[in-house]
Symmetry: D2
Subunit: 493 residues, 4 copies
């Protein structure tokens, strides 16, 4: 597909660099895959979306967009989207023009090589019955087939985003809009949360296994929808419930109507949301993320206790677990690693010479804290192993005498097809190395992963459900939908 140049090509290189602690790390960190936020029935839908998307910023730092509909003005669409953080994309002037009482918004991470402005969501289309806006979090496994089929019958696409297929499927149908949308949702396979808006309706849908999180809240008389509940706290809304697998919520002038387009088979919420992606103050399926992570740390202490002088966590995602490990063991939690909070997309990369001399832009070890100490270092996952090796070495260079690595998840062995940007299986170190080999490769004194059972019980909830209602495919290769190695892995959003 064609490459539209991103807004500021030079800067985005810096971005990638900053994602890890070195250039190689750009492929060694799982990438969060978009967040969606919807409003129905609030006079300042755009304002709410701005603060809501800001709370979801960690799910996508590359682009942001909001589309509003003014139900008092004949359902007129207004929208804006651009590359950048929410606070960069939306100035006061731009927000003021986005009048309307309904809206869908989106923040997006790019997958490699596809940093394209015209992939920024919400995507906007004009079809037979008017305007159509779509915002997605997740991935459609069978999008390439559907897309090819549509192209062969004369459809043209303007984005490389698979989200565009849902609009085409709806436009091609001769049925009424809601029926067309249901049939379109039934055609697609994958893990996704959809917000679809027309001049007179807002549709909210979750995939049949509830792979990607999506919650409903209320703010006075209005409804709000968000990938994570943390956005509700930010805007002062009240959490109502999670959108259920296979559900289709239809909101229009007659209010909220709860429908389904698929029967619920097996709930399979993405485990990595609990481990790494979601904000610690969010709840998914009623489970608070921080608390779940703390329990993972405690469980690690039970499963693979290692005595040491201090426990430290890799910021930010593993702090909660490190505190859990410390509480469980009585080993003091210390700030052995620190992240510079000011780094970001526009940072200048150090020259090769300065990097070799030890210039660190993002993560440093705290010498005074780790020097002469045996350290238990908690991290959330090991993808290729390069980041872990670097962090272990940072600790050693700062004087740690021993570094014992404890991972709050089982070994990551299998690629994700549901919206997480993972490398190919052959690059996932746990798919071809034993724990001992990995330990050696990352230069640790010992290494342990959380067991599948330990992990599942740490998260808790959903008593009796298979894997407590989570998808553990990246650990156990048990995918809730048909996939094969050729299936589309790239995020649809």
């Amino acid at each position: 597909m064609s490459d539209e140049i991103k807004s500021a090509p030079v800067l985005w290189t810096g971005d990638h660099y900053n994602e890890g602690i070195g250039r190689d790390d750009i492929f060694d960190k799982l990438r969060e895959e978009c967040g969606v936020f919807g409003v129905f029935g609030h006079p300042d839908a755009a304002g709410l979306s701005y603060y809501g998307l800001h709370a979801l910023q960690h799910r996508g730092e590359e682009s942001a967009g909001i589309c509003t509909v003014d139900s008092k003005d004949g359902g007129k669409f207004n929208y804006f989207r651009d590359m950048g953080l929410v606070k960069e994309v939306f100035t006061k002037d731009r927000l003021d023009v986005l009048s309307g009482d309904r809206s869908i918004g989106h923040v997006r991470y790019s997958t490699s090589g596809e940093s394209q402005l015209n992939n920024a969501q919400p995507l906007i289309f004009r079809y037979r019955d008017g305007d159509l806006a779509v915002a997605t979090n997740g991935n459609i496994v069978n999008a390439p087939e559907i897309r090819r089929e549509l192209e062969m019958s004369g459809s043209i696409f303007q984005t490389s985003s698979d989200t565009e297929v849902i609009a085409h499927l709806i436009a091609r149908s001769s049925k009424d809009f809601v029926t067309a949308a249901k049939e379109a949702l039934q055609r697609i396979v994958g893990g996704f949360a959809f917000l679809i808006m027309t001049n007179d309706k807002l549709l909210v849908a979750s995939d049949p296994h509830g792979l990607r999180p999506l919650a409903m809240g209320r703010l006075g008389d209005s409804y709000v929808f968000s990938s994570e509940t943390c956005a509700f706290e930010t805007i002062g809304a009240e959490y109502v419930r999670d959108v259920q697998p296979g559900e289709l919520l239809i909101l229009d002038e007659s209010g909220l109507q709860v429908d389904r387009y698929a029967t619920i088979e097996r709930r399979a919420t993405c485990a990595m949301e609990y481990i790494y992606f979601a904000r610690p103050d969010s709840d998914i399926n009623g489970i608070n993320i921080h608390s779940a992570r703390k329990r993972m740390g405690q469980q690690l202490a039970i499963e693979s206790f290692m005595d040491a002088d201090i426990v430290t966590g890799v910021p930010d995602s593993s702090i909660s677990a490190a505190i859990g490990y410390a509480e469980q063991t009585g080993i003091p939690y210390e700030l052995g690693l620190i992240k510079n909070k000011y780094t970001g997309r526009t940072f200048i990369q150090p020259s090769q010479e300065l990097r070799e001399k030890g210039v660190k832009m993002k993560l440093s070890a705290v010498r005074k804290v780790v020097e002469g100490k045996r350290v238990v270092m908690i991290d959330d996952s090991i993808v290729r192993g390069t980041t872990s090796r670097r962090i272990v070495n940072l600790l050693r260079e700062a004087g740690a005498t021993e570094v014992h690595v404890r991972i709050t998840s089982p070994p990551f062995k299998n690629p994700c097809y549901y919206g997480i940007d993972t490398p190919d299986r052959k690059e996932l170190i746990a798919s071809f190395r034993t724990v001992e080999e990995i330990c050696k490769e990352i230069n640790a004194d010992s290494l342990a992963f959380l067991s599948d059972e330990g992990f599942v019980d740490s998260v808790g909830g959903n008593e009796g459900a298979y894997n407590r209602g989570m998808c553990l495919a990246c650990f156990d290769n048990d995918y809730p939908t048909p996939v094969n190695e050729e299936s589309d892995k790239s995020c649809s959003c």
Copy 2:
């Protein structure tokens, strides 16, 4: 259609203001309607396009875009487009990424209410056979019907630009690409210059009457195409010939192939290109614009001589004609009106108070030159009459004792359907007022327009052709294609 907010909404208000000499004038000036520039076979296609589009900047100041294809890299597409001038949109970094030896580029004016980034061209599509890029200057009269027809059979549109229909027509065809393109061109009616690029071909087409200018040039072994020949001088290319009405040029690895999709009926090049739109250093159909305008001024002196102390022209388009009038009559040409060359999109509007006090941002009369003088003021056209009245008043306030207005075109009475943004007929002052009434309304001492014959002969060339091969519909209501008052007037580009 939905409104995407333009990049910098506040600023563009200022833009409109600056188009004339006062806010009311935003509707009282014809708007130029886009320029296209193509390259085939040059290793720095993007660089050439940058300088070529810069030379066409006067044809569209709102947005700019370039799409390149690298024939050595499997026909990969690269593109960038944004709101702003060519020099603002393309930084060195962005240009460097646009590698390739083929390209199409575009500069665009907006029509009211449609300042949308996603209408910026070239438009890029993905269809069955790969990528497709389209850049247009002009208008498709029957686009709304075709669009409706396509929507009813399930097509979705991402822009409000009618140019999108040509891509859909091509994608829907089951024939080979060139045949599909020819059939698509045969379906559409209007005045247009098209550049269409795929992964392996560049197509260049002019409408069956040659309404919009399009010229071919050579630079070494490469071909270049431009809305105006001034771009050839800028890049050091040699002018070859104008693209002929109904012609379809096909460029691919086997070179240039000249074809047609329509028989030539009646050449009807837009008269306003000669009068107002084109740069004075351009040639259309072999006629230099500056020289044509000078002859219009001379002809005005012959048809409606008025003695006076000085002759002055409204900058920039009427300077050549004013000099022609002065040469013909012996009345000295003087700089009675001056335009500030630094005004532009980002200028802050004067407050109401300052405007009332006389703050002028763009055009001033030169008191020392006009004070106590009888002035012949040459202008190119009168649309609603408001701008003319203001300029006449500027001269009077600066002390002119008499102001005689001479217009280098016949009265503008009929809207254009071929890519010029004109108001409705009922707002065109010449359609409902006599010359005497207009003279009174614009506060002039005398007023004369050029006759149809005088105008046609001033331009010259094309001996024997009807109206010397020009469309004079805006003056004589004789449209070269079927149109009716409901036909689409808005520019397709």
Copy 3:
């Protein structure tokens, strides 16, 4: 004094808002007061300064500047400074132009109403012997008198910064540069760290009581100087020692010469650096900040234990102390409050309506964690009390049944004259309210401050020194230099 408009006036309003959790809070948080960073003898002095200043960014987010000297190019000065973060002010292009092997750099917070670009440091002057650049952290108590005296004898000032007096004092002297600098340093009274650079020398000085931190490091053959040691870790430099009170280090082509301009009387390092300002991974006088804060939390648990269900800290400065409290008491540390890491200067303020509805931009309570819980909330200080009340209320609104506030410092009763932006005494709540009254005012169930002794011992080090070598004037009114209520409080940098 005159007001130069800051670069982007509208945006900075947002900045202030973001400093706290509401608009009122802009006066309820101590402001960090600048950081300095110097390099001597490294070929990429500007590059090192960029990463060094980035590590000191928390000490000043308003403006940044770097001045370099190229000792190989006759001591030529190059400099750049602007409003904004280090990463915003310095692009690659700008950094590349700052050639040289010596440099001084600065990050700066503004004091209210003085957001002026021309106060951005380093300040650059031209005097009799060439160029002079000065970067300061701290405040000169007697600057107004000296300034008035200089003005009366004909000096003109270009900034409102008191730092300018040091340059005038040096320029007015008829002695050699080093002697002039020593005499100038002897004239001024206050708390400060100075970096002074000429075409051939770099001077480094700390005030006679060592009020503001300043450390020396080595990177290969070059010397580096930094307000905090965290910058050394970032650039891979080795910590050597803290610059001593009254010391004057002179660096030139003959190397480093250690001198003094004042006898050391009483070391009095600012206590608030340990409590609030410094980064947790920095060491001051050999004490790690994180560890000191953790001990403060432990000491709080000893001095004023309160049983509860969870302990939480106000991010970011009080997290370490909260963990200390938790470790000491066995009460679990939980993430009860969370800060959005993406907020910053350019954020749009919520409308009055949205704020009333509960939109929170920066700090939220985590409902799932605090609901139904008795909470011990650790914070670093109470200035006016408004911020504390808001945070307590956030916790209560999220369902906390009890909120017990523990402060890691003694009551803040007296203004600082040494470079911290504090309100007048009459606005410091602890100066006119009892602990019980404050407890009521901030709506807490209980409130306790750390005792002076407890605080001093938590920091530790400096056995036998008065207050272990710290200035506690803001708590105990015992200022190490003469001051009176009329003395200049505003930061000199």
Copy 4:
């Protein structure tokens, strides 16, 4: 002196390129040297200054600044200045903050190597009696001596601008402000127009020979001052008179007081203002610039008539003269050369390859107009000769059979010390080549300059005055003040 990096170093390189038609030309064009604009007694002083400075933009495109004083608010100063055009430097937000009823403003050209933000004017100082702002156009010949003297007695300078000496001289005086200012003006030698503002006064002064233009106007009850009268027309003000040599106007709450600090010796207004710098719609000493230039062209036709097919002028400054030549001779004026109005500071330079292939960014010859023609080309001056040669060659490459160059000024042989950026004498081609030699060097068929007498009479006015009150030193080496080859030539502003 030290070099502060300009705002956007990369872009300014482009700027230089664009000044001429090729990179070499950056030294072959005289640079205009600043413009000043003052307001006294208008409630929107900043707004007027914005439009006034915009009208003076051609006098300085590098930086712009405005300082206002609010006489109702105790004479408080507000100011802003930055690199860029007036419309770029001042946004609506920034202008709104500049409240006040008095103001001085400035636009500035840089001289090579001194593109410094802190040289942007107005310069602002704080001295014994309050605030002081200074804006200058011109140069102080003896500034280096005064500066050295001030430095030796302890003064420090923050800019490399000589304008700073006037502030020091005032601040050093023990007399009242007006007396101090008069004595300071008496100390300095050169050509300058000064606007000096304090908290309660505005001073306006012209040098003793009136070398630089400065005019006074009225707008209702307020006074306005401008380097050129064109700004009065723009803001709707009425021209009153030119400020006289040696005059000092003092404006304060008691109104306007006319004083002098020097007796008028010989009026010597800069000849190049008439020839090249001033806008054609400005009047200096009552002479309209366009009219004067037209007379220069007519005089050229009389002095050195050459028959030809067409006359053309080098845009923009020589158009008026070319029309004069055409009117005098009856040879038709034609648009043989055209300048792209969109070029500007941010333009990307063509690559070496594209430049060799003929890419022209700014100036092109119009082939259709000049092909096969004998051309008289009118230009204003020849500095080094490189630009002239390029333009002659452009015409030849476009097919001109003969190119006869006529220059509207005498040969430029001597450097200027009064504010025009000229190269050293040894680089001025007319100082070491005969007219025949220059003709050959620029590849012309014939070349003629205007005679001194012819030039002087073309300008006219000032009957009986020596050189009709103009300085012709650059032509005749007769400087109105003492100068020597070592005198400071660089512009003080």
